[in-house]
Amino acid sequence: MSFIKKLSVVTISTILSAGIAQAADPTPGDWFNAGRQAVVNAKNLTPYNTKAKNVILFVGDGMGISTITASRIYDGQSKGGKGEENSLVFEYAPYLALSKTYSVDQQTPDSAPTMPAMVTGIKTIGDSLSVDQYVAHSEPNASVVDTHKLTTILEQAKLNGLSAGIVSTARITHATPAATYAHTANRDWEADSNRDAGATVPDIAAQLVDFNITGGMDVALGGGRTYFLPNTVTDPEYGVAGKRKDGRNLTTDWLKKTNSKYVWNKADFDAIDPNATDHLLGLFEPSHVHYEADRIAHDKAGEPSLTDMTTKAIDILKKNPNGYFLMVEGGRIDHAHHSGNAFRALTETQQLSAAVLAAVQKTSPKDTLIIVTADHSHVFTIGGYPQRGNPILGLTQGVGAKTPDLDMLGLPYTTLNYANGTGYTGASNAQAAGSKSFNAAAGAWASGSEGHNPTSYTPANGRPTLTNALVQDSNYLQEAIVPLNSETHGGEDVAIFAYGPQAHLFHGVMEQNVIYHVMSEALGFAK
């Protein structure tokens, strides 16, 4: 019996909710037996060397390995355990590899060239979406871009009679989802108004709705509503104007597809009958959707979670007997890290894990290849010598210690930190010297800021005195060594987790573009 068969969804759920190691301190015998069992499981692991009917590619944007580890611990601690022994759902995947994320021209990449590597099999240059490295940045000429465009796995799926969908917590026109269906040399050309004057390359939102291979895109769920609305139409939730100058209302254009629906709030989303809907466009915010940590409390009209969207997408796509390709992005892990706020990065990762669980529950490893990976990492670190079970967001406190550990200035410090970013403790033009907050102090804002977005700093004088109450607050920005307006991506490898047919082809340290080739092999597209 294969590992996957043994590790049924029920088992996974049980482990997640009431893991043995969480329930009691394991004895030496428990450790030994658990270790031995892992080897037995590995010996029994039988690859599914068959063709995949479906492929689901999960991308945690910016979900580096330190993010996974910290999220695993946070998740375990939020369930009452010590945390370290916990596993996120996708960590149960039997096959694992490391992915080298550099692009043709970037040692540390942005999200634009990494996703084309994953969905076309070819690395390209920064800011480009599914065009090769020989097209100049912001190339305006559609025929030039067309010459250099790279066919994506989603397009191949449609050409082969499969259904296709994309789900994201970012704008559905943002780099990661866009790379699956759009071809452009500027990732920021999301609406026609974003393009350079005279550009004939279609904007990304138009490319999504005008995508016409075998009936077009089947499911697109995420944010970015204003990129689909003309500037003569106001947003139904907030009243802001649409961004399109060409007069097109792409949400109504979408409805020209057969059995199509467009929704923008949770009530309408919940009312969608997957059996009666073949093409679903859901745009739940003018730009990116809410962070999971803020979604329920703050969304005006209500919006579905990443798990809700993933579930609905699968229910619609699975009607196709030929199978489907689905890309799901946890897009705001990256945004939280850029803001220097570990809490939101970890809770976003928790939600991605829940979405993977939903996908595992709705599919069979016999016919569905599920891949969970990241496009790049962040400069996010887990350090010090905290004792087992120490709150992952808290101050480092060593084994047996009654108080937090102190640095050489006599000051406590946190386990989680950033190498650079907005948590630098010198005074900024936006916040006073000392610890920084994701939120402006209540009432102290005037002209608005997204988190803490400084444009200048003065050098820090030593370090602030931290307390557990302060650093475990959801809005605390972990200390950063190098002061920057925005925390940066990290250049180290990221993980690839895989279940299902051909998942065993992921092994060792691989180039990021190999992900496409495994999917292509699994779906039988490889020549």
Binding site: V240, H288, N439, W445, S447, G448, S449, T455, S456, P483
Partner: protein, 234 residues
């Protein structure tokens, strides 16, 4: 001092120690449409430091507040939408670029734009928390002088009653004196210096502030991050 910094200063000045006004403070009282020019002066009490002066425009209509440095390069705009949301954008005029702060991110960041406070700079409840000292005239208009203290800071406001705007705000503490003075005021319809038209702003390039972290190679983003001299090109 940029407008942004000025407003932060101004609002922190008027907020600390005052109750947060409710949205309905002046809800039923339509503010007049005006065009104003203000000057701010920050005078450090340490005489080795020089005073700084900044001039800026303030325009108010029923659904729009707009500010702009008098050199015309930077501004801000708040638009009240038809469902009482507030859309806020920073304007980089020479770059023809607007940086947007999206509604979804405002509650997360404890941003709760109060139209009353935005359009009048001070709310009635804030004025009421100070002592009315005398009635006077300023800019040939009826005015009231209020005084109060915020901790160790003293504050004096000369308030234009009809226009519901400050003619002056003077704040003093041990470190510096900050003065805001209204220099010109006229009806918006006849103003010589007009705000940017909404249509013109709609033609600007728009960037969601959340996306800055993914736009480090964008020339505009590089420029505004570097402009205060703390970003070193490499």
């Amino acid at each position: 001092m940029k407008i942004t910094n000025f407003f932060k200063l101004l609002f922190s000045l008027v907020i600390f120690g005052f109750s947060v006004p409710s949205y309905s403070d002046n809800d039923n009282q339509q503010s007049t449409e005006v065009a104003c020019r203000y000057e701010t002066k920050v005078t450090p009490h340490n005489k080795s430091k020089k005073p700084s002066v900044n001039a800026w425009y303030f325009w108010r209509s029923s659904h729009m507040i707009q500010t702009q440095d008098t050199n015309g390069d930077r501004g801000e705009i708040w638009l009240r939408t038809n469902n009482d949301s507030v859309q806020y954008r920073k304007l980089y005029i020479s770059d023809k670029t607007a940086v947007e702060y999206m509604p979804a991110d405002m509650p997360t960041n404890n941003m709760d734009f109060n139209w009353d406070k935005l359009s009048n700079m001070l709310s009635q409840s804030e004025l009421d928390s100070m002592k009315l000292v005398k009635k006077t005239h300023a800019m040939n208009r009826n005015a009231q002088v209020y005084k109060g203290k915020i901790g160790a800071q003293s504050i004096e406001v000369t308030w234009l009653m009809e226009e519901k705007l400050p003619a002056s705000i003077i704040k003093k503490d041990k470190i510096e004196t900050i003065e805001l003075h209204l220099v010109e005021i006229e009806p918006l319809s006849v103003a010589t210096q007009k705000p940017l038209a909404i249509e013109e702003i709609s033609n600007y390039r728009h960037i969601d502030a959340t996306d800055f972290g993914d736009m480090e190679h964008d020339p505009f983003v590089e420029k505004i991050m570097a402009e205060n001299g703390d970003h070193h090109h490499h």
